[in-house]
């Protein structure tokens, strides 16, 4: 009884001891914040990686792909059919994306993935990442009415300009075909020509335009049909091309600082409805360069800058056609990979080993989990977080030595009281437990406050980030550098528990030595001096 009473009284009257646990509080709070941020980072990243990459991926080693798609799928079904929730065949290939902006062509290396959106959606949350597609709908390759209207508008305008140019060529130009493929023309700067008002109506009433813009009602239709370009293409330039793509948002948008407000805004050079040019290689040996134009159906924004600035999804059949992956005799279409979504993602390793056995022998296939594919990135985050944990735990250990020092002082100060207690019949163990429980109480207070501070910090981390940015004028968490638009956090209750527990253990360990010393005080020695 006297132990807890004295321990509580010491806690209430010895503020210097509370000061000694501030570093412990800070250490605990920092550990919680760092772990939550790191965990949030890797959790979010895993989610997004998985959304894009699926749980398990069967890949061919050759870029030519595997023609026996159905056989491959059957084998997979037979081997691990019970564990599979969804499966989609894709063609993955390196490519060059070229976008015309104004009079300039911009080219970027990309990973081109031919997908079937409907089956791809069963493997990962594709529609969630498409900017102009609602999350609930199944994504397809059709343009939205707005995109369609926009497309009509700019193709019409481009056609009109080309037409005018044909009738009245500029004197300086030579006799070359000015634009070989009108559909590859990009939206130009605001129209400068006279009949500008004619083209404002499509913007104002999009639905009407969508209806209007069939070839018959197009005022330029007649001329268009007569133009050289359409003879080559044999179709209405206003309708989308055969090739359709979802383009990574980061590929076609650039951050810039608004000169008026100083805010960072995104400047987008491609909209759904525009056309882009894609260059890649054909299947076969040696691979031949090939290129095609494709209409942008939607933008893809996973908010993982790595993917947003490197992925282009294309309609699978068209890519297969362009790459010569369709066998002209058997009509068999080759694919390069099959993405698999599992019912239980934890089974990935088991599924991988089963698939490795089931797939045809030879070095034709690789079976990997998404984690294998992104291993180095995830491992880097884990190593980083482990090192930080060690360093931060050292802070708490340092706090432990602070407690040790303060406790020695307190036991010296309390020498006489210890003597009194012993004279009153308190045992050495009793004296020791006073100081041990005092240490535990300090640890409890220190880590308790630390947990509260840490959790509050995590809860308001984005507000704090904004505040620091405001104070220092320097962006702390820059979206251009990190993967995410704002700091993602994930609080793991067990992590909080272990951090707090570790801090308390250190506080108790630090109080053992002073407590033993106190317990060994000789009562007479303690009482002798006033």
């Amino acid at each position: 009884m006297y132990k807890s009473l004295l321990c509580l009284r010491y806690l209430r009257t010895r503020y210097i001891a509370l000061a000694s646990i501030i570093s412990m509080t800070l250490g605990v709070a920092t550990m919680i914040v760092v772990n939550s941020v790191m965990d949030g980072f890797s959790t979010d990243m895993r989610d997004r990686l998985r959304g894009i990459l699926a749980d398990v991926i069967v890949e061919t080693n050759s870029l030519d792909g595997e023609p026996n798609t159905q056989d491959l799928k059957d084998r997979i079904q037979r081997a691990v059919g019970n564990d599979i929730e969804g499966m989609t065949a894709t063609v993955e290939i390196y490519a060059m994306l070229s976008v015309q902006y104004g009079s300039q062509w911009q080219s970027k290396p990309v990973t081109l993935i031919g997908i079937d959106p409907a089956t791809k959606a069963t493997v990962g949350p594709l529609s969630k990442y498409l900017v102009n597609t609602s999350e609930a709908s199944i994504p397809d390759w059709e343009l939205s009415p707005a995109a369609m209207a926009y497309r009509k508008e700019w193709t019409t305008r481009a056609q009109w300009m080309v037409d005018r140019w044909n009738h009245n060529p500029p004197p300086m130009e030579e006799e070359v075909t000015p634009v070989e493929k009108p559909d590859s023309a990009e939206p130009l700067a605001p129209p400068k020509f006279d009949s500008k008002s004619d083209f404002e109506s499509p913007f104002d009433s999009k639905p009407q335009v969508a209806e209007e813009t069939d070839s018959l009602s197009n005022p330029f239709d007649k001329e268009l049909n007569e133009s050289v370009f359409d003879k080559a293409e044999k179709r209405d330039p206003g309708s989308p091309l055969k090739g359709r793509v979802y383009i990574g948002y980061g590929l076609v948008s650039f951050p810039y600082e608004d000169p008026d407000t100083g805010e960072t805004k995104m400047f987008q050079i491609v909209k759904p409805g525009d056309d882009v040019k894609i260059s890649t290689v054909t299947a076969g040996h040696p691979p031949e360069p090939t290129h095609f134009n494709a209409t942008v159906v939607d933008l893809f924004k996973s908010e993982m800058s790595e993917h947003d600035s490197s992925l282009v999804f294309c309609n699978l059949e068209y890519l297969q056609e362009m790459r010569g992956m369709i066998d002209p005799e058997s009509d068999e279409k080759s694919i390069t990979s099959i993405q698999i979504k599992l019912k239980n993602p934890e089974d990935a390793a088991m599924v991988v080993s089963k698939l490795e056995e089931a797939l045809p022998a030879g070095q034709r296939f690789r079976v990997r989990t998404w984690e294998d594919k992104q291993g180095p990135l995830l491992a880097a985050v884990e190593v980083e977080s482990a090192i930080l944990n060690v360093l931060l735990f050292l802070i708490i250990a340092v706090a432990g030595f602070g407690i040790l020092a303060i406790f020695f002082m307190i036991t010296l100060e309390k020498t006489r009281d210890i003597g009194i207690l012993k004279a009153l019949g308190a045992s050495s163990n009793g004296i020791m437990s006073i100081f041990l429980s005092y240490g535990l109480a300090l640890g409890l207070v220190g880590s308790g406050v630390g947990v509260v501070v840490g959790l509050l910090f995590v809860r308001y981390i984005n507000e704090i980030e904004k505040f620091i940015t405001f104070i220092t004028g320097r962006k702390v968490f820059d979206q251009r550098i990190y993967y995410f638009p704002e700091i993602a956090t994930h609080v793991e209750p067990m992590m909080v528990f272990w951090v707090a527990f570790g801090a308390m253990v250190i506080a108790v360990l630090a109080s053992i030595l002073p407590a033993r010393k106190a317990a060994r005080f000789h009562p007479v020695e303690s009482l002798r001096y006033e």
Partner: protein
């Protein structure tokens, strides 16, 4: 302790006790073979100058220290060689201590200080069950020493005489058989000292409490039944005994 032994024997006895302190390499002898006995209900004072070993003798009686040579007997049983746990128990149950500098715990108020021996004796649970009874007892004893108006005060808010009375109350709460008082008036002015002495005398007379009091003041010592005088660790004169035998 039972009264099974019919032969009259001293309640507390030190037999041929020697004690020396070590300071660095030097051995400083304090007590050279002391024999002191005290009977039940007796008020014994031990007088001597500073360094005569009187406090050391009292510490040996109170099991705060162990003799180098010799034995301490309580009711005929040797107690100085008991294990530490048993010694703690005896200190708590048998002896009540009063010190020159009161030695109250500064963090606790008067009531809590008085209750502290009971807190030490009982486990938290037992104490909690009996806390009302204990508080009642404590209030009675505090009333007896005349401090009822001070129960919520911290020691730092009390005068010297009040602190010493609080210390006496603390010594009495555990219902000790023997009260060990080390210079109880040494730090008080003469009138306050007299109040304390009256209190001790009353306790001795009314409650038959055995008291061993250490003092350097002959006048104070004279109020006891018997005086043992120490000089350089040896007994100088054995008592101007008022009443060597004690009323039973």
């Amino acid at each position: 302790m039972t009264e099974t032994i019919s032969m009259p024997q001293p309640q507390l006895a030190a037999i041929a006790v020697e004690k020396a302190y070590r300071k660095d390499k030097h051995k400083i002898p304090v007590l050279h073979g002391i024999d002191v006995e005290v009977n039940k209900g007796e008020f014994l004072s031990i007088v001597g100058q500073s360094g005569s070993g009187k406090s050391t003798l009292m510490h040996l009686f109170g099991l705060l220290d162990t003799p180098d040579v010799g034995e301490i007997y309580l009711e005929g049983q040797q107690i100085d060689d008991l294990p530490e746990h048993a010694r703690d128990q005896i200190r708590n149950h048998v002896f009540g201590f009063i010190f020159q500098f009161y030695h109250l715990l500064p963090e606790l108020n008067l009531l809590e200080n008085v209750l502290s021996p009971l807190m030490i004796r009982y486990s938290t649970w037992e104490y909690w069950k009996k806390r009302k009874q204990f508080k009642q007892d404590a209030l009675e004893i505090i009333e007896k020493v005349g401090l009822s108006h001070r129960i919520k005060h911290r020691p730092s808010e009390l005068s010297g005489g009040e602190m010493q009375r609080a210390a006496i109350a603390r010594a009495l709460i555990a219902k000790p058989q023997i009260l060990l008082a080390d210079e109880p008036t040494g730090n008080l002015d003469s009138s306050t000292g007299k109040e304390i002495m009256d209190l001790l005398t009353n306790l001795n007379e009314q409650e038959q409490l055995t008291i061993i009091m250490v003092t350097h003041d002959n006048l104070i010592a004279a109020q006891a039944h018997r005086t043992v005088r120490l000089r350089e660790g040896q007994i100088e004169v054995l008592g101007k005994s008022k009443s060597a035998s004690v009323p039973a």
